[in-house]
Symmetry: C2
Subunit: 248 residues, 2 copies
């Protein structure tokens, strides 16, 4: 039995600058240097507050599972919202310009692909809230990934016909009581994937609202966004199972 | 590494007669006698054709996972439909009399509880199609189980207020293209569990129709019932994860 301390000691992390067009973006990579040779790479896309310690911690968790994890920076170096108003403005900018959003997330995927320990044929992406929406856009862009996982992401698409470009498997982890996702959005999303014959799964977690994986959301469901430990752990296990299947 | 053959060799199976009222029922138990001491017991409820080799095979799979598995017999000894018309009549009889259905499934649970290797405080139930409906009725009856799993079961309830009697965790594995389950049934089911504050999860498998775990259903989705290997394997993994959580 390896102690938790020694496992942690082997996780290497690094800030990585990369570009999309003229924009400079600042991502973060994590991997276990006790493992030798190329391995699958997982892109992580942040929630509306931008790249924070939350995503970096998820990257370390994925590194401990044996993946190279790379946190994308959609907003750009130094663009780190300080409050929900700034976050809403940033997220709104990219949700309102899906082509730009796709360009930004694909730049992150390219940066992941170029990491020395990554097997470029085995890639996946996960995302939280805004990042969930973003990894679905990555899929809709036709990106060459094996799978994407959305945690409490927005599912709506202004161009549902783009579902036909999805080449990867899709897993959606959704809070059954999420007030920001209308039943009509779920229905439209399912129709998009059904019509495009995508390999998809959607898990609804009873009692969970928006942001259910994020402790910083607090514990008050009546706010519409709150942490839910059960749904957090279950969705992480579901993701692990999904990744194990696509990379088996 | 233990070979598959030697693992199989340790699985013991037996036919078990038990009663519900005046009715004689004939179930089937499977367990691994290489494992010592009490362990969780899993009740398995059959689809509309009654108890068949299909459920017995699932019992052996659960026994290999370390559980005592017991296949209930809802219809009664010797009542084994030979065609879909007979199956429809039998399933219809019990779906139309939920009190009788609850009595029959609870008799099976009692029989499981009495098996010598079962820890009577750690019980769960799984069911397929008609059996999925049945394990949900078991939960609605207030039975003392830790969890129930429905695979492509009917979710409708004539008495949704009974959701308040559910004491266990609920996992529903559902084919997203199942034509026998109306969107209104799903919505009503979710409302029932939400209103009763049940701990529930529902997984939708894209591209899967009714009977997706059952090879005997064939491979023609247009019939509304068909086997789907991916959804079969994924739902089995989801069940394993669910059981691991409730019996941890």
């Amino acid at each position: 039995m390896i102690s938790a301390a020694s496992v942690h000691a082997t996780i290497q992390t690094k800030t990585i600058e990369y570009k999309q067009g003229d924009a400079t973006l600042e991502g973060f990579v994590a991997y276990d240097d006790a493992i030798k040779g190329p391995r699958p790479g997982i892109l992580i896309v942040h929630q509306w507050m931008g790249l924070t310690d939350y995503e970096k911690h998820r990257a370390e968790m994925l590194a401990q599972l044996g993946y190279v994890a790379f946190c994308a920076d959609i907003y750009g170096k130094g663009v780190r919202p300080q409050n929900t108003q700034e976050a809403g403005a940033q997220a709104g900018k990219y949700k309102g310009d899906r082509q730009l959003l796709r360009a930004r997330v694909n730049a992150g995927l390219d940066a992941l692909r170029q990491q020395p320990l990554v097997d470029p044929k085995r890639l996946a992406a996960i995302g939280y809230c805004f990042g969930g929406t973003t990894v679905l856009e990555l899929a809709r862009s036709g990106a060459d990934v094996s799978g994407v996982v959305s945690f409490h992401g927005g599912l709506d698409s202004p161009t549902p016909a783009d579902g036909k470009s999805i080449k990867c498997k899709v897993l959606v982890c959704h809070g059954a009581d999420d007030p920001f996702e209308k039943p009509a959005d779920l229905t439209a999303f399912e129709s998009e994937l059904r019509d495009a014959k995508v390999d998809w799964q959607l898990i609804e977690y009873g009692g969970a609202v928006h942001s259910f994986t994020q402790p910083m959301a607090g514990n008050d469901n009546s706010k519409g966004a709150a942490y839910n430990e059960k749904a957090d752990k279950r969705s992480w296990e579901a993701m692990k199972q999904f990744l194990a299947e696509i990379f088996k």
